[in-house]
């Protein structure tokens, strides 16, 4: 198994009408053994910007700590929060700095930009940005996730429907992956509120 499959992960972010949702699984494993079922993969940068990091768990945590550090400095200098597009460029630059000894993580960035316009993007472990208008996926279950999202996604969904869709896509995809699952975690962000939900999934 490759280094990206050492811990196992599944991440997906979807765009709705003036809102977005980002979801992850909750398993932390060491190859086939499950070590934890409450592992956090989606982190908050500020109220309207979230990043999910799949791949090697230690690199995901380190990457998150570096990004929080850089964002806090930015906040001190600019006296405002970072825009999602700027943040995506920052993540990309940080990953490419380690071009010949990379962080083994694949980020999924989701945020609300100007005029409450939702923004999502994903990157490979070297920082190649992939902007999408509908959904982005990452992790060991990414192929199943692509299939599930492609068939279940509709543009301009309301928050409740978006939550249903992303939950079903995540749960059905991780049910086809040995290395991810054991529950789900969904974050639904609208201009006025943030909802965190934990999904009851198959625990095998």
């Amino acid at each position: 198994m490759s280094i990206f499959e050492y811990n196992g992960s599944a991440l997906v972010a979807m765009v709705g009408k003036n809102c977005f949702a980002i979801a992850s699984d909750r398993r932390l494993g060491v190859q086939l053994q499950t070590v934890a079922t409450d592992f956090q993969r989606v982190f908050k940068i500020h109220d309207r910007l979230y990043i999910g990091l799949s791949g090697l768990a230690t690199d995901a945590q380190t990457m998150y700590q570096k990004l929080v550090f850089r964002h806090k400095l930015y906040q001190l200098r600019e006296e405002r929060d970072m825009k999602p597009q700027t943040f995506a460029s920052l993540v990309s630059a940080l990953l490419y700095e380690k071009r010949f000894g990379p962080f083994f993580c694949q980020p999924v960035i989701a945020g609300l930009g100007d005029n409450d316009e939702p923004f999502i993007c994903t990157m490979d472990c070297l920082g190649a940005k992939e902007l999408a208008k509908d959904f982005v996926v990452s992790g060991t279950a990414s192929e199943s996730l692509y299939g599930a999202c492609e068939s279940m996604y509709k543009p301009d969904m309301e928050p409740e429907e978006l939550f249903e869709t992303i939950s079903q896509a995540l749960l059905s995809s991780v049910d086809r992956d040995c290395l991810s699952g054991w529950g789900g975690y969904v974050l639904l962000v609208t201009p006025t509120e943030v909802q965190e939900k934990i999904l009851k999934g198959r625990m095998d």
Partner: protein, 327 residues
């Protein structure tokens, strides 16, 4: 495509080249050392080149070739190289290629199966997940194979291997019955299978099976694997989830359990293995083998078992917005 045609036409101009050298399939003789034949081929090629170069008069070009020696040599190499094809990938080192091929086919026995003998017979239990690396190919595989009405075999390792050889064992057991007018013992059946698997040792079969049954001597349980091992015992668990199953099984085992207690113990053990092991999951099947043969006791979805054993506790809400009480 064009290159291929060119090479074929080129070949027609040199009938002296022995075709067998270039187009003999490698590995026709199993003991042939590939490295030796390469050198032989290279030597032949060099000889041909030298012979061909002697026909051309390059005296007029000597001064030119002295000034640009490398370019000329390279051009000559290309022009006069006899037609040849690249050896297929992996054949430079055939032994390593064979090892790699066996490795790709090696299924890491991603499963959990267990069986134990107690006073009332034998309990056999297994999960139902088939995985290929990280991908779950099926959640509903029958891993307990019914060899005959009083003997069961479990499947771990390569699914095709287990299914085929268990069916083969069933055939051999029936033939024994017809030839000897009595049922084969569990000892005999497991020995038959073990001998077959031993003869295929090293060829890449992947089988980790338990043969459980009830014969004239009472309950019998044997572990047989594709390395040729055969062990008699009271408790076994096979597969990637076996350490987790052993933990629960060894803790709760008593020889004087009732059938219901033994059933629940086996179910719990497999459930815990599916929770911890990524390659096990799906449905827990539990069978009981008694004096009158085997009987399937249950087939429970593992996820439902989880929420039955550990129901979701309602957690206190951290940030609850309530209307301010009227003053």
């Amino acid at each position: 495509m064009l290159l291929l045609l060119f090479r074929l036409s080129f070949l027609s101009f040199f009938p002296s080249l022995s075709l067998s050298q270039h187009f003999a399939p490698t590995g026709t003789k199993p003991h042939q050392r590939i490295s030796v034949s390469l050198n032989f081929k290279q030597r032949k090629q060099r000889e041909e080149k030298r012979r061909m170069m002697m026909k051309l008069d390059t005296s007029g070009l000597e001064s030119f070739s002295a000034a640009v020696p490398s370019a000329m040599a390279a051009a000559e190499d290309q022009l006069f190289a006899p037609p040849s094809f690249d050896l297929p990938a992996g054949c430079a080192d055939f032994d390593k290629f064979q090892m790699e091929a066996k490795q790709t086919l090696k299924h890491a026995k991603g499963t959990t199966t267990l069986a134990f003998i107690f006073n009332q017979g034998v309990i056999v239990a297994a999960d139902s997940r088939a995985s290929m690396g990280g991908y779950i190919s099926s959640q509903s595989v029958k891993k307990i194979i019914e060899i005959n009405p009083y003997m069961l075999g479990t499947m771990a390792g390569g699914a095709a291997d287990c299914q085929f050889w268990h069916r083969n064992l069933g055939i051999k057991c029936r033939l024994h019955e017809l030839a000897n007018k009595r049922r084969i013992s569990v000892t005999g059946a497991s020995k038959l299978l073990a001998n077959i698997l031993y003869s295929y040792r090293g060829m890449g079969l992947s089988i980790g099976t338990m043969i459980a049954g009830w014969d004239e001597k009472g309950p019998g349980l044997y572990y047989v694997d594709s390395e040729g091992g055969r062990l008699k015992g009271n408790r076994f668990s096979v597969g990637s989830g076996s350490p987790y199953a052993y933990g629960v099984l060894d803790n709760g085992y008593r020889p004087d359990m009732t059938v219901d207690e033994a059933h629940e113990l086996a179910r719990r053990a497999i459930y815990h293995a599916t929770f911890r092991d990524g390659a096990s999951g799906g449905v827990v099947s539990v069978y009981h083998v008694g004096p009158n043969g085997w009987k399937k006791l249950s087939g429970d979805d593992v996820s439902e078992l989880h929420y039955k054993y550990y129901p979701v506790q309602p957690t206190p809400v951290e940030h609850e917005m309530v209307d301010a009480p009227p003053a």
